[in-house]
Symmetry: C2
Subunit: 141 residues, 2 copies
């Protein structure tokens, strides 16, 4: 029988954030020569055309994953946002206007779930990048 | 000159969450007879048709604000969601499919900013409800 505690842990947003920062710490400790990631093509499925700066190679992925970890740890909302252009495109795609009249409880849950989901994805990407580095330097896991 | 520390505080998501839970605590301490809020029309602008249960009167607002505070404090993602229907409608409105291929950094920032914004709105609503209760019982602020 699954305990309430186990369910709590699996579904906690705070735990998802902590899991992500731990994965990035491990990545940093493992990747001693990040420059080896340069020019290694990123096989991530996200839209690289829309985010030229960050995901053209594995080194870009590495920098992005660290940048997000810094935001998570500081808890700051990035204002001077180098991603502003992409966010504008995202906001246009999502047509945010209907949200303004939405029940705030549903809106709150939408963003909490969204954040949980994106943190889980980013944790997997971080672990995958760490493994790829191990492959590059020829160390078996 | 505005200090870096002041900017930090104003833009912190964690601070926005804490500010909200404090506002709800103060609301609970002030509203000793929540039943007085029954049948008092809610003048909130959100779409009450889409959220029949929670915002038909000020008492509904009171319960909703407390429920969200409980989720914030536990950090849990609500799975057995009485708002599931509304969230589905919200997700349909937002057409989430394009998000799947989106640069995860932009997606992360979208949800963090969204959460910050909704927490600020909910804090104002909580403070406003507390003031309305004071008016109802005839106590000047």
């Amino acid at each position: 029988m699954q305990s309430a505690d186990a369910r709590f842990k699996r579904n906690s947003l705070f735990l998802a954030l902590r899991r992500y920062t731990s994965a990035v710490s491990e990545m940093e400790q493992t990747i001693l020569l990040p420059s080896l990631l340069r020019d290694m093509p990123s096989d991530e499925e996200w839209d690289c055309e829309a985010a030229e700066e960050t995901c053209k190679d594995l080194h870009g992925d590495y920098l992005m994953l660290k940048a997000i970890r810094n935001i998570v740890e500081s808890g700051l909302i990035p204002l001077d946002d180098r991603k502003a252009k992409n966010n504008m495109a995202l906001n246009e795609t999502l047509t945010l206007e209907p949200l303004l009249d939405t029940d705030p409880e549903a809106l709150f849950q939408f963003h909490v779930r969204g954040l949980f989901s994106v943190m889980s994805d980013l944790t997997k990407k971080t672990e995958s990048l760490t493994e790829k580095y191990m492959d590059i330097i020829g160390v078996a896991n």
